[in-house]
Structure formats: C-alpha cells, structure tokens
C-alpha cells in the first residue's frame, strides 16, 4: 500500500519515476497494416501495469514488442524506441537472447514443454548456464516453483510430464519457468483467459506476491482483473494509447470518454 500512496502523488502523469521500461513513439506494422500507433509509455519498476482494451486494439502486439517476440513474425515491423534501463532494446548491439532472459513472458495459453515438471523449470537456467551443478539447479527449480505457488502441489512428482498438470497448474508452471531465469520484467499476455475462476484467482494472487520483485506488465480483457491486480492501467483502443494512469483513477474517474465508455461496458 505504501507503494501505491507513493505513486498516487504523481497524479495522472504518464510517466513514473525511474521507469524500468520506457517506450517512445512506438508504431508497429504487420505488413502495411498499422497495429500500434505512436505509443509512448513508461512501465515499472516494481508494480503491475495492466494493458486493457477491446480485442484487436494492439495491446498484445505492443506487449510483444517489449521483449522483441514480434521478431518471430516476419511481416512485423517496429518503429520508435523502447528502452530497458535506458538501453535501446532494438539497437543492433542488443542481444535478443539476453533481452528475453531479462524480460520474460507468460502466454495466453499455458504452453509447458512436453518434458517433466523439473525440466520445464530447469530449461531456462540450463540454456543460460545459471546453475553450476545439480544441487544449485535443484535449488533454483525449488525456489521458482515455490515462488509460483506450485511447489507443494508438485514436489512429489517433479519427474512427471508438465503437460499432465491441470490448466491452472500449467500456467503457474509457465510462470515458474519464466522466473527461474530471474528476469527483471515479466510480460503476461492474458495469462488467465484460458483458465477457470479458481485457477484465475490463484494466478492473480501469485501476481500480487510477485510484484515486489519484478516489474509486471499484464494484458487482460477482464477489467475486474485489471482493477484487482494492477497499480497502473493503460487503455488501448484501435492501436492508440488512449489513457494511462493509476488504476484506481482510470476505473473511478477516467479523463477520456472512450475509456469511460469502455469501462462502463458501452463497447468492447
């Protein structure tokens, strides 16, 4: 709560002090189609930022520019500048492999690898050489699973396949997998939209617990979820960032009529 009070002194400024990531005039094209139009936003460092907006508003596309996952789509093109701790992530000197280790991502549909639970979590530490021995790797796996709130449920069956878990457990496994490489930012692309209400509640609880350690950016089309988990909310519409500010302000007293219309359920 102290953090929230500290932030509220900023009022509705579009920037927070010492932003973890900042985007300036970011425009994303898919071929000739403009998906994100001139977005400037600062996120982090230690709180949850929610991107809301109707389907196709560009919020997921923009999220994917933050760890350059759009690179995997051949037709996607990004203009503008995005910085992580003041460093341009689209600069040629930026190693995309390093970037993605620092900016992790959790996807809409749980996507555990068809490997054991242990191997799923150990995947990142292994490829980045974070553990020098089995004991250390065991430690990282346990710590990550504990942080993801999954340890007690899976500690006796770490060698079972990750795909055999329930949907909610799979998603928490994916979160454990993401935090195993100790990222600075975690991007979540509608992480609970494929889950039932109980599993969703667990994910939201987890986001609460993680927020002290990581900058979290979550895309959601569930406005209650945005209100529950985030401190700051950005409303996207038709590829444009309409409004960005404190979550409580956005939901109780939006400046823009478009935001208000969306929040009150008039469209979207």
């Amino acid at each position: 709560m102290t953090e929230m009070t500290a932030l509220s002194t900023d009022g509705r400024a579009a920037t927070a002090p010492a932003a973890k990531m900042s985007a300036r005039n970011v425009t994303v094209f898919y071929g000739d189609k403009k998906a994100v139009d001139d977005v400037s936003i600062d996120v982090g460092p230690e709180h949850v930022t929610a991107f809301i907006g109707p389907s196709g508003c560009g919020k997921s596309t923009f999220l994917r520019t933050l760890n350059r996952m759009n690179d995997t789509i051949p037709s996607a093109r990004v203009e503008g500048r995005i910085e992580l701790d003041g460093e341009d992530i689209y600069a040629s000197s930026m190693d995309v492999v390093q970037l993605r280790a620092r900016v992790g991502m959790v996807f809409q549909k749980p996507n555990p690898f068809p490997k054991s639970i242990y191997e799923n979590v150990a995947y990142g530490p292994r490829i980045h050489g974070l553990a020098s021995g089995t004991a250390e790797l065991d430690h990282i796996v346990e710590r990550s699973l504990r942080r993801a709130g999954l340890w007690d449920e899976v500690k006796d069956r770490l060698s079972e396949s990750g795909t055999a878990l329930s949907g909610g457990q799979q998603q928490r496994l994916c979160i454990a997998r993401a935090i195993a490489v100790d990222p600075e930012v975690i991007l979540m692309d509608e992480p609970a939209s494929a889950l039932d209400p109980i599993a969703t509640a667990k994910i939201e609880e987890l986001i609460h617990e993680l927020r002290g350690n990581y900058a979290i950016v979550i895309v959601t089309h569930n406005m209650q979820q945005a209100a529950r988990v985030s401190q700051r909310t950005a409303f996207f519409h038709l590829g444009v960032l309409v409004e960005y500010g404190e979550t409580t302000e956005i939901f109780t007293n939006p400046r823009e009529t478009r935001t208000k219309d969306y929040i009150t359920g008039r469209y979207g």
């Binding site: 996507n111 990142g124 490829i127």
Partner: protein, 460 residues
C-alpha cells in the same frame, strides 16, 4: 455371337432404358403436378442399372456354366463314342476339336478331332443362343420392372446412391482381397518350402547357397538355406547405412525448411527435394553401380580395407539418398505440428532458434520423426533395384561396409530369374524370403502408424 458382343448389346439396351426412363419421368413433371422426388436423369440411371447389372451378372455366370454344358452335350453325342478311353488322349482330342470349332486353329493333329468339330460347333451355337436369349430376357425383365416403378414419389435418387456405394465398396475390396491373395500365395509356397527345409535352419542358419544339383551326376552344391547372411545384408544396407545417411540429412533439411528458410525458398526447395522420391529406382541403381561404387572401392583400397566393386556402402549410400524425402517430409509434418506456442515459449525464455529446435521442437516431434524413419526403413529393406545393381550376390556375413553383401530382395530376384522348377527348394526359397520380408515391412508399417497416431493425439 461372342460374349463381348452380348455385353455390348446389353450396354446398348441400358442406354435405351436410360433415355426411355428419363423421358417417362420427365413426363410426370410439369406445372401443377406434384414435384418429382428424384430428377428424371436419376430415374434414368435407376432403370439403366437394373437393365444392365442383372443381365451382365447372368452373362458372366452363364459363361462359366455353358462350358460344362457344351462338354456334356458333346460327350453324349454318338460321335463321341469312338473316343479313346484313356483320359489324357481323350482330353487332347476334345480340346483340339474345341479349338477347331471355335476357330482358334485351322488344322488338328489328331484326325478324330475333325469328326467332333460339327458336334462341338452345334453345341456351342446352341448354348450361345440360349445365353443371348436369356440375357436379353433378363435385361428386359429387370429393366421393365424398374421402369414400372417410375412415379413422382419413387426415390430413384436414393437407390442409385446405394448402387454407387456398393461400387465404391467393391473397388476398395478388390485392393484388400488382392493383398490377401498375395499373402495366401506366399504362404502356401512357403509352406511347401518349409516341408523341404526346416524353418529353424532357414531363419537361423549362417550359410546361404541355394544352388542344387538338378541331376544326380551333376557337380554342384547340395543347397544350404540359412538366410541369416541375407537378413544381415538387408539390415546392414537398408536399416543401418541408408539410415545413417537419410536420418541426419532428412531431419536437418526438414529443420531448415520449417524453421529457417523464407517462405519463397521453401516453396521451391520442398518440391525439388520431393522430386528425389520420384526418380525411378533403376536410375538410382545406375548411379550406385557406375558412379558411387567405384569411388567407394577406391576409397576403401586407399584406406587399406579389403574392398569389392559391389559394396554394401555404395548401395546403402545411394539408398539413403533415395530415402531422404521420406524422412524429411515426415519430419517436416511433425515439426510443423508442434504448436507455435512451444516455440514461442522457448524463444521467450531467451533460447536461440537452434536451442529451441534441439531442446523443444525435435523432442516434441520425435514420435512423428520415429514413425517416418520406420516407414523409411520398411521402404528401404523392400527396395530391390539399387541392391540388385550395386550390392552384389555373395552371401557374406561381414560388417565391412566396403565388402560385398547380398539382400533378401536381390536373392529373390536371383532365385526367380530364368527357368524355374517349382518343386525345388531353390525356387520355393524365394517365397519364404518374400514372406519374411512382407511380415517385417508389415510390422514396421503398423508400428510406425501407431507411433504417429499416438503422437497426433497428444496435441489435439
């Protein structure tokens, strides 16, 4: 009138029935009348099928039956009483007479045959006329009956659909029944072989030398039918050397095409690769025997290894090249079936593309790849032309890839080329080998399909 002419006549009647039935059905239609259930053309088909099919079935049956009836009538005639009593001579005279009467030959060796010609001719003409008359009658009766059923409510469309279904079923049954027939023929000849050579000796014997002395005084080996050297040669070439070539190259090309190449490059590289599968195997055979084999022998000699011109390595290398498209297209399909989310998940962890492929995509696609490899192996061990041209005939039990080995298929070709006597184990051995080959490839195919199916279910 020959059978073919009668059949043609029936088809002609069918055409007439089609036109007539369509016209009649069309006459029912019109403004103010109840709507026809089926289109006039469908009524036409219904009546035409009834006209043609029963008549043709009768014709086919009659054709079988009339031979015996003709024969019986000829034997009952007074001219037949002078025939020799001895079965073989009697048959010879009768068949000559038949050949003369039906115009297949002009002169007979046996003078008695000429006496029987008019009898035969009479009998043939008599039964042919009966056949023609009844066939036409059947056509008219069945067609006429179908014709009377035409009415606006009659569901000709549904009936014709059933006939179409039956036809399609028949077409698929023919393929299956043929397979069963092949298996049966393999099985019976193999049983004859195993009554002469013990299955234990055949399956586990180490010595293969199928040449047998035909006459008692002839110099020649007594024949040894231990097929282990052939099985080894087949596995050595088809399952080991060829796969050592095909698996890495096929898999790597599939990985390149699915993960790295641009869509444009892929659109012309993939078809080019698949052309490899369409090259006639005999062309691969030339390539193996004339280009690869000498180079392999020279390499072997340079390395100081005993080498022969016809080597396992040459045949295996070329066979591996031939198999690449099989492996690569199966691997391609399985890699493409791994959800994009897997790939994204790994890339988002900061893995490079090749790490993602090695640690996530290939393991996930492995069952499909294994299925493809098993299919490729079954194809390779059944492959004949390359090994016939490049692998050699000597049944050596050697692990030297520069040495000459022989395969099951090569030996089958050897055993069945030229004049055969089907009471000798040498010839019958080919069927036993064929049976083993069939069994192994069938088992491989079944396993491969199961593996692939199980894998598909995992992502649905």
């Amino acid at each position: 009138m020959s059978v073919a002419a009668i059949a043609l006549l029936i088809v002609g009647l069918g055409l007439v029935a089609w036109l007539a039935a369509r016209a009649r059905a069309a006459a029912f239609a019109g403004p103010g009348r109840p709507r026809l259930h089926s289109l006039p053309g469908q009524h036409g088909w219904y009546v035409a099928l009834w006209t043609v099919i029963p008549a043709l079935l009768f014709l086919a049956g009659w054709n079988e039956l009339s031979g015996n009836l003709i024969y019986a009538q000829v034997l009952a005639s007074p001219e037949a009483s002078s025939l020799p009593d001895f079965g073989m001579q009697r048959q010879a005279v009768l068949s000559e007479a038949y050949a003369l009467a039906s115009g297949q030959t002009q002169a007979a060796f046996n003078p008695q045959a000429h006496a029987l010609v008019p009898v035969y001719a009479r009998a043939i003409a008599f039964y042919n006329w009966i056949g023609l008359a009844v066939t036409v009658l059947v056509a008219f009766a069945a067609g006429g009956w179908a014709f009377t059923r035409i009415s606006p409510q009659f569901r000709a469309r549904t009936r014709v659909e059933r006939v179409v279904m039956a036809l399609l079923l028949l077409a698929s049954l023919i393929a299956i029944l043929t397979t069963l027939g092949i298996v049966a023929s393999l099985l019976f000849e193999s049983l004859r072989f195993f009554s002469m050579v013990s299955p234990i000796e055949f399956l586990f014997g180490l010595n293969w030398s199928p040449q047998m002395a035909i006459r008692a005084d002839q110099a020649g080996s007594s024949g040894a039918f231990g097929a282990i050297p052939l099985f080894w040669g087949t596995i050595f070439i088809g399952a080991i050397i060829a796969m050592l070539v095909a698996i890495p190259l096929g898999l790597m090309s599939a990985i390149y095409l699915t993960q790295y190449s641009s869509a444009r490059l892929r659109s012309w590289m993939k078809p080019l690769l698949e052309i490899l599968a369409g090259v006639p195997t005999v062309v691969y055979g030339y390539f193996a025997a004339l280009t690869v084999a000498p180079a392999v022998r020279d390499l072997g000699l340079t390395l100081g290894i005993p080498s022969s011109t016809e080597s396992a390595l040459a045949a295996g290398l070329v066979m591996g090249i031939m198999i690449i498209p099989f492996v690569s297209s199966m691997a391609d399909d399985s890699l493409a079936a791994v959800p994009q989310a897997m790939r994204d998940g790994s890339l988002a962890m900061g893995a490079t593309t090749s790490e993602t492929i090695r640690k996530v995509l290939v393991p996930a696609a492995l069952p499909g790849v294994v299925g493809g490899v098993l299919l490729a192996v079954s194809r390779a061990i059944g492959e004949t032309m390359i090994v016939v041209m490049a692998a050699g005939l000597a049944a050596n039990l050697t692990a030297n890839p520069f040495g000459s080995v022989t395969t099951v298929t090569t030996q089958i070709v050897q055993l069945l080329t030229g004049d055969q006597e089907f009471d000798s184990p040498k010839t019958l051995a080919a069927f036993a080998l064929g049976l083993v080959l069939f069994g192994v490839t069938l088992a491989l195919n079944i396993i491969a399909l199961r593996v692939v199916k199980k894998y598909r279910e995992a992502y649905e």
